[in-house]
């Protein structure tokens, strides 16, 4: 990873999250590891059910403890979050680590003013008075670009537009200057012009405070805009990791390649069919054997001995760059070149 020279702030090691449901055990996350340094952004890409949101709820300790079996290690600034008590986590949440969600309206309380909700976190962690908290809330609203913050602080969420709600939620998440911010599809529900505003805002705030950001999205365009490093998840596992440039320019995993070539673009050729990935994402109740992508992969027959359906490929990392695939790197260079030629970048 490009950030090896910097101090690792968050470290996730071999994380496994399994839920028990009526139908059986769901292996939502199955052996995930990554590191994140301060001031850096890790983009996590994956489709619905790939385990990207579960990973981050687990980091924050927001999972249902009775139904979830967790294995592995999550170190935040050297402290293991998985062995921490609920009280210890409460002290960290909102203070040291924070999260913004996709649906801002559902994440804000309709009965309290924006100012109260931003101030609440601040008061809880700093013991500030109501007056101080209100001043802080106004300052935060100004920082995220809400016009007339001293008036809008007394508004209720329904009086804000979608983009403003998302800004208010960012203000709430950043009110205690957290060192880790987890953003779970924060722009998916927004229009492109507002999405652009929010991403610029996140980048500015990161520069100012050196926050480490985990940015979860399904949109590779957003990744290209905001991430330093990228982790591609499929079926609860990491299939590819690397810097943004490496992953987008020279993808090593057939799934990443498939995602990139299935996206329509503003500049590529038109009047030719898109290249979709066949099939649909796997059920994690009963995931495919071996490589979880093999039922949808077009290269399985190129691997000798049917290895793809019997053996799980290991994530082969050198300096934070690598992928989990049975094809040799030479094979991939050869096969992927044709697909890349039909793409435009």
């Amino acid at each position: 990873m490009t950030s090896t020279d910097q101090q690792t702030f968050l470290s996730v090691r071999d994380l496994k999250v399994h839920f028990s449901t009526e139908d059986g055990v769901v292996k939502a996350v199955d052996g995930l590891s990554f590191d994140l340094a301060k001031g850096k952004t890790l983009g996590i890409v994956g489709e619905s059910g790939s385990g990207k949101s579960v990973t981050n709820l687990t980091i924050l300790g927001l999972h249902d403890r009775d139904r979830t079996a967790i294995d592995g290690e999550i170190l935040l600034d050297g402290k293991d979050l998985l062995t921490s008590t609920e009280r210890e986590l409460e002290r960290l949440r909102g203070n040291k680590m924070s999260m913004i969600f996709q649906d801002a309206l559902a994440s804000l309380s309709p009965y309290h003013t924006i100012g109260t909700q931003i101030g609440e976190t601040y008061r809880k962690h700093t013991g500030a008075s109501k007056k101080e908290a209100r001043a802080r809330a106004i300052e935060m609203l100004r920082r995220v670009g809400i016009p007339q913050p001293d008036m809008r602080v007394d508004d209720y969420p329904h009086q804000f537009s979608g983009g403003m709600r998302q800004r208010a939620m960012i203000a709430m998440a950043l009110v205690c200057d957290p060192e880790l911010l987890i953003a779970d599809e924060p722009t998916t529900a927004l229009d492109v012009t507002v999405q652009a505003q929010i991403m610029d805002l996140l980048k500015d705030l990161q520069q100012e405070f050196g926050t480490a950001i985990i940015f979860i999205t399904h949109d590779l365009g957003v990744i290209a805009d905001i991430a330093d490093d990228v982790l591609v998840m499929y079926g609860g596992r990491c299939v590819e990791r690397g810097t943004k440039e490496e992953v987008l320019r020279t993808p090593q995993h057939p799934y990443t390649l498939g995602l990139l070539s299935s996206m329509p673009s503003l500049e590529g050729p038109v009047d030719v069919p898109l290249n979709p990935i066949p099939g649909s994402p796997p059920s994690l109740l009963n995931p495919p054997s071996g490589c979880r992508f093999h039922p949808r992969c077009t290269f399985t027959e190129k691997v000798a001995g049917g290895l793809c359906s019997t053996e799980q490929p290991l994530l082969d990392l050198i300096d934070g760059r690598g992928s989990a695939c049975h094809l040799s790197l030479e094979q991939r260079a050869e096969f992927f070149a044709d697909v890349a030629a039909s793409r435009h970048n």
């Binding site: 365009g221 500049e267 970048n345």
Partner: protein
């Protein structure tokens, strides 16, 4: 544009939703001007894309065309016939020729009906008995949309999101329509599945010669699917053109800003990645700005923009059929590349 009568001809189409309030005798106190004076045509077999941000009226337009909503003003002609206020009876034969595909593949299929019954539904309603029976036709349709005909007796919950959307497409095709209004047909699907459904729709459009009104907010998807594209902002069409003209030579500042805001999955740090930063939000359609509705967010706006609404015309330098509603259209010289940004502060 064909030289004969267009399949669909819309002029001055307007929809205002009244807002009622007051106690104890509620009365109309205002109106949401969802759609305000649209003019466009769709030729036989053509695909028109409608793009714009949420609240711009694109879905309302789709519902007006299919006559699910009653227009406040304006005229809708289908194959030369005025259907603006046509009643149930007169609409019946036309309804079978205009079909709709919805955004949410979960909400748009009845969970208690089998796939066979869902797809046969339109035939039942219109009392159509194809040769060989309805079941045979349904199996054909399933085959066309890439589903297994043996799944005739399954229920919607047994299918994934992408497969459900295929069922929705099959239902829309059941009556051999001439026009399909597709309202955000792929935006609820995963990226890898989106391409499958876009390809299916494209195949259907080309092989069966069906005209489409394709409503979407994703500019890249629209570019891929539509021959002509209309950009909407706050209930008005601000620009309409052939696909290549619109994406290659956008003249309206809003079109330009919209295009520049789309994040592209490339790792290149070229100037093309710079954006036009639009400030603020879309104003409320209850009291839209006077004159040009985009002026409150436009970096070029002058007093003229506030007093005079720009007409949708072929401004100088546009190819025929390329219409722009702007007093100060962008030119190729001011912005050399369509994706190259202008700094709003510097221009102001």
């Amino acid at each position: 544009m064909s030289d004969t009568t267009p399949l669909l001809d819309v002029s001055g189409l307007t929809k205002h939703f009244p807002i009622r309030g007051g106690f104890p005798f509620p009365r109309t106190i205002g109106a949401v001007q969802a759609v305000d004076g649209l003019d466009f045509q769709v030729a036989t077999g053509e695909s028109l894309g409608l793009v714009g941000e949420s609240g711009c009226g694109k879905s309302t337009t789709g519902r007006l065309i299919t006559r699910l909503l009653e227009p406040t003003a304006g005229k809708i002609s289908y194959r030369g016939q005025d259907i603006t206020h046509a009643g149930r009876k007169r609409l019946a034969p036309i309804r079978s020729e205009i079909q709709m595909i919805f955004q949410d593949p979960y909400a748009s299929l009845n969970p208690r009906q089998t796939v066979g019954k869902i797809i046969a539904g339109p035939m039942e309603i219109n009392d159509i008995n194809p040769a060989g029976g309805r079941e045979k036709r349904v199996r054909e349709l399933l085959e066309i949309v890439g589903l297994n005909p043996e799944h005739y007796n399954r229920f919607p919950h047994e299918f994934s999101g992408g497969q459900r959307q295929r069922i929705g497409v099959a239902r829309a095709l059941a009556l051999e329509p001439k026009l399909i209004v597709a309202d955000e047909p792929v935006s609820a699907l995963d990226v890898s599945i989106q391409a499958q459904v876009v390809n299916l729709l494209q195949k259907v459009q080309q092989e069966l010669g069906i005209a489409f009104v394709f409503i979407a907010h994703d500019l890249a998807v629209v570019r891929h699917f539509s021959q002509r594209v209309a950009v909407m902002y706050l209930g008005k069409i601000v620009e309409i053109a052939d696909r290549d003209d619109l994406y290659g030579n956008p003249r309206h500042p809003y079109t330009r800003a919209l295009l520049s805001a789309v994040p592209e999955a490339t790792a290149d740090e070229t100037p093309a990645r710079e954006r036009i930063r639009l400030v603020g939000d879309v104003p409320s359609p209850i009291s839209p700005p006077s004159g040009c509705r985009f002026r409150t967010r436009c970096w070029k706006a002058t007093d003229k923009c506030a007093s005079e609404a720009p007409p949708l015309v072929q401004v100088e330098g546009n190819k025929p059929g390329h219409l722009t509603a702007c007093h100060y259209p962008e030119t190729a010289e001011t912005v050399p590349s369509p994706r190259l940004a202008k700094d709003p502060e510097a221009a102001a």
